[in-house]
C-alpha cells in the first residue's frame, strides 16, 4: 500500500485528473437535471457512465506505465514481493476510485433518488474497465493502446450504439429500478476472467524479469 501511495504521488499533476473529472461530472449532472426540470434521469445516467466509468482506468494505466515503459522497469519487478503483484494494485486502485465515487453518489442522492442501482452498475463497470486495461497492458506490453481502447470503447458504446450491442457494458434508461443491473453480473464475471488472464501473464512477466 505504501508503495502504491508513493507511485500515486509520483504522478504529480496527473494524479488529480480523475478528481477534476469527478467534480465536472457533478456539475454536468446538476446542469443536465436543471436543463430538464429535474426529470431526465436517463441523460444523467449516461453522463455518469461516460465521465465516472470512463476515467476509472486513469490511475491504473498511469501506474502500469512505470512498469512497462520506464527505463528501470526491470528493477521494479525485481524488488517486487508477491503481495505487490500488479493485480492487487489494480484492485486497490479500483477500491480507492470507488471510495471517491461513493462521495459523488452521496451528492447525487441529494439530486435524485434512488441512486443505489446506478452506483452498483457504475462501480462494476469501473472494475471491468480496469480489468480490461490491466489485461491489454500486459498482453501488449504497452499502456497507450489500453488507454485509447478504453476511451474509444466508452465514447463509442455510450454514445453511438449504447447498450444495443451485446458487447456493451453500459445501461440505458432511467436508473430507478434494479433492471439496470441486468448486465452487471456478466460484466463482473468478465472482469474476474480478465483479471485472472492478466494475472497469468503477470506471473510470466515476473519470472522473465528476474
Amino acid at each position: 500500500m505504501n508503495n502504491l501511495i508513493l507511485e500515486l504521488k509520483n504522478l504529480r499533476f496527473y494524479l488529480f485528473i480523475p478528481y477534476i473529472t469527478l467534480v465536472l461530472a457533478g456539475f454536468v449532472v446538476l446542469a443536465t437535471l436543471k436543463g430538464s426540470d429535474f426529470k431526465d434521469l436517463a441523460a444523467c445516467a449516461s453522463v455518469i457512465q461516460i465521465f465516472v466509468s470512463g476515467f476509472a482506468v486513469w490511475w491504473p494505466i498511469f501506474i502500469l506505465k512505470e512498469y512497462l515503459h520506464s527505463p528501470g522497469k526491470e528493477l521494479l519487478f525485481v524488488y517486487k514481493a508477491r503481495k505487490d503483484i500488479l493485480m492487487n494494485k489494480m484492485l486497490l486502485l479500483w477500491g480507492l476510485y470507488a471510495l471517491h465515487v461513493v462521495v459523488l453518489f452521496f451528492y447525487f442522492s441529494t439530486l435524485f433518488k434512488p441512486v443505489i442501482y446506478l452506483f452498483i452498475a457504475t462501480i462494476i463497470q469501473c472494475l471491468f474497465l480496469i480489468a480490461l486495461a490491466y489485461f491489454l497492458a500486459l498482453l501488449l506490453q504497452n499502456t497507450f493502446i489500453p488507454l485509447i481502447f478504453n476511451f474509444a470503447y466508452v465514447f463509442t458504446l455510450s454514445m453511438v450504439v449504447f447498450s444495443d450491442l451485446p458487447i456493451s457494458i453500459f445501461t440505458r434508461g432511467v436508473p430507478d429500478n434494479p433492471g439496470i443491473l441486468n448486465t452487471s453480473v456478466i460484466v463482473l464475471i468478465l472482469a474476474g476472467i480478465l483479471f485472472w488472464a492478466g494475472y497469468q501473464m503477470e506471473m510470466r512477466l515476473y519470472k522473465n524479469s528476474i
Binding site: 465536472l24 506490453q141 488507454l147
Partner: protein, 711 residues
Amino acid sequence: MELIKIYEYILRVFWRSKNLRIPYIILLLLAIALVILCFYIQLQYNYSFDTLRLLVWPIIIFVVFFIYISYELTVKIYDHNMPEYLKTYGQGLCKTYGAIILCLLTLIMIPALLFSAFAVFLYFFIHAQYPPFLLHLLKLSLLYFVLAFSIGGMLGTAMAAILKSRRLAVYSLTLIFLFLNTRATEALFRTPYLLFNSYGGEKLLYNIKDFFTIVPLELGSTFEVAPLYGFPMEPYRWMLAVFWLLFPLTLILYECIAGKKKKMILAVSSLLLLLAVGLFSLRGSTLLMDMRTTSFVIGDNMYYTEMGHGPAVLAENPKKFAIKKYIMDFTVSNELHAVVDLTVDNPNLEKYDFTLYHGYKLKSISTADGKPVPFVREEDYLTVSPAPDTDRLVFRYYGKSPKYYANCQGITLPGYFAYYPKAGKHEIWSQVNNSYVFDLPSTDSEYIVSIHSNLKVFCNLEGNNNSFQGKSNGLTLLAGMYSQVADKLYAEPIREDAPVPNAAMIRKADASITEACKRLQRSPEPFLIGDRKIFQVPRTFHLNSQTESAVVMSDHITTDGIYDGKNFAMEIMQAHFNQQREPVFSSCYLSCLFDSLNKNDPLVKTRMNHVSLLKELDEFLYLESQVNSITPEKLRTLPEPEIVEYSKRKQRYDEMFLTTHLKTAYYLFYQSPCKEDNLRAYFDFFTSDSKEHYLDLAEKLLREEVEHADR
C-alpha cells in the same frame, strides 16, 4: 545515407516491433470489417448517406490510433538516445524524421485508400449517375480519410519530437484530442449556460472544440446527413486540415534544425497559428448539426425562447406599404453578403417597418443616390426614417442563419424566410408552436436577382447563370447537390428516403385535392398546385419546426419531401390552414378528409360515446385554461401547496393531450353521423381568420349532437 534507405530501415523497425505491427494488423482487419459492415448496411437499407455516415463515425478512433503508431515509432529515437548520434551526420535527424513521415504515410494510405475505394464503389453500386455526388465522395475521401489519418500521424510524430518520453503528457493530449472530436463534450459544454447562464462560456468552449475538430462528422453524431449539403466540408475545414498538417511539421522541423534557422521556424509556426485562428474566426455560415445554442437544430428555438430575445407581442400591424420591386445582388462566400435595392409603393410615410432576420448585420441603409438613411434596429425589426418622397432604399448587410445556411457548399434560403428585408413587422418564430411563422405578402413584388456563387443556384424565378427575374411573393434560392429533376420540379438527386418527384405525383396530388373539395362542396381552385414550381427542401428542415412540410407561395411551393401524391395533397391543404397551432388535430382531420386513416388503429376501431367524449373534452379544456393561466414567473411565486396542485393538473393535462385530440378528431370526422357537416365546418374554420380555439368548435359541434340526440 539516402532518404529511401532510411525509409526502408524505418519500415523494418516498424515491422519488427510487435507493439506496432500487431495493433496495425488488427487495425487493418477492423477497417476491412467496417467496410464489410457498411456494405451489409447498404444492402439492408439501401441508403448511401447512412452507410457513409457509419463509415465516417469511427474515423477519429483510427486517427487516434495513428497518433499512437507515429508516437511509438518516433519515440524510439529518444528511448535509445539516438538524436545526438544522428545529428553528427549531415541532416541525419531531419532525414530520419522525413523517413518516419514517409513510412507513416505508407501505413496510413492502406486504410485511407480502402475507405476511399469503398466510397467511390458506393457511387457506382447505387447507380447514382450524378457527377457532383462523385466529386463530393472524392472530397470526402480526401478530407475525412487521407488528410485526417495524415494529421494523426503528424500529431503523434510532433508529440514525440517535442515531448519525447513524457508519456503522461502525450496520453493526456491524445485523450483531450479524442474527447474534443466526439459528442461526449455536449453534456459538459451545456453546463456554463445551464448552471451559470453563461452563453458566452458555451460559445468559447465550442469555438475551441471546432478548432480541434479534424473529422467534422463526429463520433456520436445522431443527426442525418442532408443530401443537398452532404458531409460538412466547408472551406474553413480544409484550411484547418492543412493547418493541422503544417503546424506539427513546423514543430518537428524546430526539433531537427539547429542554429539561427530555429528562430525562423518558430516564427513560421507562430504565423501559421495566427493565420489559422484568423481564418477560423471568419468561417461564417456553417452547418452545425449538434445541440449547441447556435446550431441548426436548436439555434432559433434557444434564441427566441430560452435566451429571452423573443419579440414582444406584435401590436396590430396594419399594412401601410408594400414593396413593388427588389433589385438584389447577393454574394455567397463564407456567408451571405447582400445589397438589396427596394422600391416601396407609398413614398409618403414618415417611417417604414421592415423585418430582417437578426443574424444579418446591417452595414448601411441609403437612398438610391447613396445618402445614408437613419434607422433603428431591434432584433428582427428595422424602422427606417427616410426623407419625404424617398421611394427607393438600398440595404447593405451580411450574415447568416443557423438553419437557412448560405455558403460555398450549399444554399437553402426559402422565400418565406426574412433573409432580405420584408415589408412590415412579422413574427419569425412562434414560441407557442416552437416553429417558424410564415407571413407572406398578399401581393407579388418584382424581383431582379443576381447571385455570385461557386454553385449553380436554383430559383423560383426565370433566368440562368445565377441571374433571375420575375414576380412572386417570396424568393427561394437553393444550391448544392441539387438539380431540376422534371419540369417545374426541383429536388436533391441523391435523396433516398423519398422517390424522386415526378409529374404523375403532382397530378395525383391535384386529383386528391379536387376529390376532397368535392366532398366538402367547396371550390378546389385556391388549393390546386397548378403550374407552380415545386422545390424539395432538406428533410432536416422538420427537425425544429412543424410548419415546413409544405409552404405555398404565389408561384412556387417548398416541401420537405414528396412521398406520394395523396400525402403531398394533405400537406398542401394543411399549408393553407390558418389555424396550425395543433398539428395532431389538423393531421387527423386531413386523414379523415382524404380517407387515409389507419383503420386498424384501436382508437379508430373503438366506437366512441359522444356524451362521455364531451365530458372528457370539457375537462381537458378546463385543465388547459388552468395550466396556461400560470406563467413560469408566476409559478415561481406560488406557495408550495399551489405548486403541487399545479403539477397535478399539468400531469393530467399532459396525459390527456394526445388521446383527447385523437378521440375528438376520430369521432367528429370519422364516426359521427354528422361527419360530413363537421368536416365542412372545420374546413371553413381552418381556412378562415378566426381566432377562436380549435377545440371550442369541437365542443360546440359535440354539444349540438348531444342536444339533437336528447330531442
